[in-house]
């Protein structure tokens, strides 16, 4: 759902070390961080190891492996998660291809005891800002 809005337009930034982009909720409503079951990021065709991704929401930072117990920490639908990846980009070096897949558990759609897990992929090309 809303796959085309998962990477916020123009949000790629080059940092002193690494890069960041803004990840948007691929669903219509707030969900707790425990529902974020997976995040795969490729930049310019190269996979970023998931364990190296850092997620920042409301001033707190998490690794993907931290999320499963966080059923009381809400990701509000209007708020982006800032994702930091350890990949140095030079601002002004042209467009980069960002390829992001999010796996999201939908906590009210459960069939035979198994919750629905939606996978939403978004690919965008954009320049990195400083």
């Amino acid at each position: 759902m809303l796959g085309d809005q998962v990477i916020a337009d123009g949000s790629l930034r080059a940092l002193e070390r690494g890069a960041t982009f803004a990840l948007r909720m691929p669903w219509y409503r707030a969900l707790p961080l425990s529902c974020l079951e997976g995040l795969e990021v490729r930049i310019d065709g190269e996979e970023v190891p998931p364990e190296t991704l850092e997620l920042t929401l409301a001033g707190r930072s998490y690794r993907l492996s931290d999320l499963s117990p966080l059923h009381d920490t809400w990701w509000y639908v209007a708020d982006p998660i800032e994702v930091t990846l350890p990949r140095s980009l030079a601002a002004g070096d042209g467009e980069h291809e960002l390829d992001v897949t999010v796996a999201l558990r939908i906590p009210y759609i459960v069939e035979s005891g198994h919750p629905l897990v939606m996978r939403e992929r978004c690919v965008k090309r954009m320049e990195a800002r400083r």
Partner: protein, 341 residues
Amino acid sequence: MSPGASALPRLGVTLYSFTRDFHAGRATLEELVARVAREGLGPGLEVIGFQSFRGFPHMAAEDERRFLELVERHGLELSCLDGNVDIALRADRLLDETELVEYLQAQIDAAARLGFPVLRIQNQASPRVVERLLPHAEKRRVKLGMEIHAPETVRSPWVLALRELYARLDSPYLGFIPDFGASTRGISPSMFEAFRAKGVSDDLLEEIARRWRELDGKEFEAHEEIGRFIALAHEHGAGDHAVNLAVFAVGIHGHQEASAWSEILPHVVHVHGKFFDIRDGREPVVALEELIDVLVAGGYRGYISSEYEGWHWDTESDAFAMVARQQAVCRAALERYARSS
């Protein structure tokens, strides 16, 4: 409002219709509500708690005050607050019955504080959970509205179990919310057009339409059928589009006859006027006039809340204009009754 008109269902809208604008940051909650009023899409206003309110169901008192002021200023009427029955909130296990009851009591409280007459609930609330919620709902004077959404019908086993419970408990605080998307005549042509434009083959789209028609009148398990549609889409090379195609085809386009809603009408507390598109003055797959006939004939006098869902695949159309067009069709259908009464 004239006495004649008040004896008919009233129109309104759910802000879910404008999800794409809200999600993209093109409009705030304040702006959505103001535009609903300005364009005459009320008077009913329905809101999804977990979408419109930060911190739901434990919102900041200041946010609640501002929302109520907003609704008042624009002369809208709160029709329904959509709750969610998040039984799989935790990653390690499903919530147990007591945890789910407490989770939903907080949402009933939020509805009561804001003055919503109905809280929408979903089918992960078992009859036992609904029964345990009832005293709280009665105390807070909030009706529980169980949504019946595609591909479920008034005869789905879990709906039959609730109908039994409702008959036994006989409380005006227990009800259903029919979603018009449960009774469609086919898959929306606008969906096929959008996926064709994304490069999905005509062969696959025709096969999806054919398989969908084969489900007419059949009982099936939603997840099994969605699984079959996903496999079919993959066989045809639909790649990243496979899951969305299957979920949209099976999960929001239902097969129930419009007339079947009459079986539960005395318990209907709110209606989701689901639609996907309006062209040439009609919704191609949702029989709006027929559905309205069924509601009126069965004595329904609550809100028909326009719920535009074509935004999943139609990223261009103005959702407000879509709702206005759908309400024009609904209004014309209702006016036939106003004239004849």
